[in-house]
């Protein structure tokens, strides 16, 4: 083959190649999702069902406010736990598993840039977390919906004589204000956003980690420090009293290097009856996007230079 022929052959090859292709990313993402589903992760739904039905049945002799709150606490708690575990463990498993199965080499020998591979993997995980959260939310909302009507019937029966329309509407308003409401969706979204950041952290760690276990442990430590980061931020920007220089320096390092996951803890307030304004949710979403972009970029830098 002459030099001219070789060049034209390369040009032909590159003519259809795009530097970034959403369809390639989606193909990897869907493949990742399928790969994780085949790991039978959705069996967790059984545990979740048992948890919320248990929370619904066990606390019947409490006030209805307590009953509804416990149901919401248990459900949101389980959702946070499952979403965080999925995002950290799922991400930690992906790259080592692809190396072990040799899938990674098959993908990277094709014209797939490494950052597309990473973004695809991350999206696959986020898709799994989103689907699992949707399924958990459906179960949770269904149980809450049934329970609030059950409570309404019980409370109506306790009224002596025929309840008046005013009594009924007041009772309904009181019960429903603590039952199924649109505000709960913001709680689910906040859980998803936090899990997304956790997945991005695990992705960064997995690009330089030597083992899956290392990735999980380091990601969990960062996840935990991330929840205490707001305390570090308070130290870094003290209100009134000044802390020592060393304390401020350490707090500054923590605040700069670790994500602030405490920001996403709006569920406690939502269960108490507070509402999250749209501006705040938009701000949280924007910050999550910022985290995802930067962490994906860092992952790519590390992964691009990784010898496979």
């Amino acid at each position: 083959m002459t030099e001219a022929n070789e060049k034209s052959f390369e040009d032909n090859l590159n003519s259809g190649f795009k530097i970034f292709s959403p369809s390639r990313v989606m193909a990897i993402a869907m493949n990742t999702f399928t790969q994780l589903v085949r790991m039978k992760v959705f069996y967790f739904l059984l545990i979740f069902s048992v948890l919320i039905i248990g929370a619904n049945v066990l606390f019947l002799n409490f006030t209805f406010e307590q009953e509804l709150k416990i149901l919401q606490d248990v459900s949101f708690g389980a959702m946070t736990l499952f979403a965080s575990i999925f995002s950290i463990v799922g991400t930690a498993l992906l790259i080592p598993k692809d190396i072990e199965d040799r899938t990674l080499y098959t993908i990277l020998t094709k014209p797939v840039p490494r950052f597309e591979y990473l973004i695809g993997k991350l999206l696959g995980i986020l898709f799994l977390v989103a689907v699992s959260l949707v399924l958990m939310s459906i179960l949770f909302f269904a149980v809450l919906y049934i329970r609030q009507y059950g409570i309404l019937a019980e409370e109506t029966n306790q009224i002596r004589g025929q309840p008046t329309a005013e009594q009924l509407s007041s009772l309904k308003e009181t019960i429903f204000s603590q039952g199924l409401r649109l505000e709960l969706l913001n709680g689910v979204i906040a859980i998803f956003l936090k899990a997304s950041v956790a997945a991005a952290i695990a992705l960064v760690v997995s690009t330089f980690a030597s083992s899956t276990l290392f990735t999980i442990i380091v990601s969990l430590v960062i996840y935990f420090i991330g929840h205490a980061q707001s305390m570090a931020l308070t130290y870094y920007f003290p209100e009134g009293d000044m802390h020592g220089a060393l304390q401020r320096f350490i707090a500054g390092i923590v605040a700069i290097m670790f994500p602030n996951l405490q920001m996403y803890n709006v569920v406690d307030g939502i269960v108490s009856g507070q509402s999250v304004p749209f501006a705040l949710m938009a701000r949280l979403t924007g910050l999550t996007g910022f985290y995802l972009v930067i962490y994906s970029f860092v992952s790519w830098i590390l992964f691009a230079k990784k010898e496979l």
Partner: protein, 380 residues
């Protein structure tokens, strides 16, 4: 060899670039996060600080759980523990656990409500019952003078702190009102707190009625109470028995006041000036009854009241009893009063039932035809 070194430098360079990016990102996001924290504070999502005092209150696992996003769940766990301690009558633990639940989730009004209820009602009632069965005088004195007031104070403290945390809710100010009215019998403070509670957006209508009831019992505030009660009586959706009674009591107060401070001539002049003021007519009627025992004039004055469309229903009952004072009209008056009693016995006060029973005695109504059926009221 040189390839290996180059490769190591290449990889470490990647790590250094990554750290540099993370640091730069850190500096860029801190102002954004601080702003978000401010928003969270503004909207009430930073009502719990994971500080030293919180760490001392909670177990290590609970503290980690609380900062890890499970604060509400941990609060519920302590709520269950408080319930368990309540069942064991371990009031010190109940107080401790209630303090934890309220500090973990201070914006959840029910936590404060339950804490106040456990202290001011449950613990208080437990010690009251203990003092009743206590044979040791010193111990009884301690329970009644120290322990019981102490739990009452604690309950009140929880309710007041909760009211400060949840200004948008009617619940805690109502609980404070309940404690002042039912435990301290302080009608003035109870009225103040019920009024505060009634102003909340979610307040049920009965709280304003509770405010009116307490206000009606406040000495020296009769004028204000009358404004509130008469408004509820005339314009309220529900005219409860308490409102009727308060209205009657307050009107009697003003009638007595008019009678005490004015002569009959002056009252009559006042009536000429304000013919629609039925209270003046009632004062004239009472004047005739009490000062000159002129039943006929009193009846005339009361007839004037009944003609007034603004006059409350209870004047009909009073008029019935007034007519019954004349032995010639007693039979007719009894028939009218009997109808009223059968239709709505609750509007008859205890002293009215006694009076009705006396009329039945006087008319020798056979026991099977009597409407009062209450022997203890009958007087020979």
């Amino acid at each position: 060899m040189s390839i290996t070194i180059k490769s190591k430098i290449y990889r470490r360079g990647g790590m250094l670039i990554s750290i540099a990016i993370l640091i730069a990102f850190g500096f860029a996001r801190i102002p954004l996060e601080s702003k978000t924290e401010e928003h969270l504070k503004k909207y009430g999502f930073r009502d719990w600080a994971p500080d030293i005092s919180a760490r001392e209150q909670l177990t290590q696992a609970s503290f980690i759980g609380a900062i890890g996003g499970f604060r509400s769940l941990i609060a519920s766990v302590y709520d269950l523990r408080a319930h368990e301690a309540f069942r064991n009558k371990d009031w010190a633990s109940v107080e401790r656990f209630r303090k934890i639940t309220t500090s973990l989730q201070p914006r959840f009004a029910k936590h404060w409500d339950l804490a106040a209820w456990d202290m001011a009602w449950n613990a208080y009632a437990y010690y009251r019952s203990r003092s009743e069965f206590c044979e040791d005088d010193l111990e009884r004195w301690q329970i009644e003078r120290i322990i019981m007031p102490n739990y009452l104070e604690k309950g009140l403290g929880f309710a007041k702190e909760g009211a400060a945390w949840t200004p948008e809710s009617y619940l805690l100010p109502m609980v404070v009102g309940d404690i002042y009215s039912q435990k301290y019998k302080n009608t003035k403070l109870a009225a103040q707190w019920y009024f505060k509670s009634s102003q909340a957006e979610d307040a049920p209508t009965y709280i304003y009625r509770a405010y009116a009831t307490q206000l009606a019992r406040c000495e020296g505030m009769e004028k204000k109470a009358y404004e509130v009660v008469s408004d509820l009586y005339n314009n309220g959706k529900i005219r409860t028995l308490t409102i009727r009674r308060d209205m009657e009591r307050l009107e009697n107060y003003f009638i007595d006041d008019l009678m005490r401070n004015n002569s009959l001539d002056k009252l009559q002049r006042m009536l000429e000036e304000n013919p629609s003021d039925y209270l003046i007519s009632a004062a004239i009627g009472q004047f005739h009854l009490k000062s000159d025992s002129n039943l006929g004039s009193a009846v005339e004055a009361y007839r004037g009241i009944l003609k007034n469309p603004k006059s409350p229903q209870f004047y009909r009952r009073q008029f019935g009893f007034l007519i019954a004072r004349n032995p010639d009209n007693q039979e007719n008056a009894y028939q009218v009063l009997k109808k009223m009693y059968i239709k709505a016995p609750v509007i008859f006060r205890e002293k009215d039932v006694i009076e009705l029973s006396n009329i039945e005695n006087h008319l020798n109504i056979p026991s099977n035809e009597r409407v009062t059926k209450i022997d203890r009221y009958t007087k020979e």
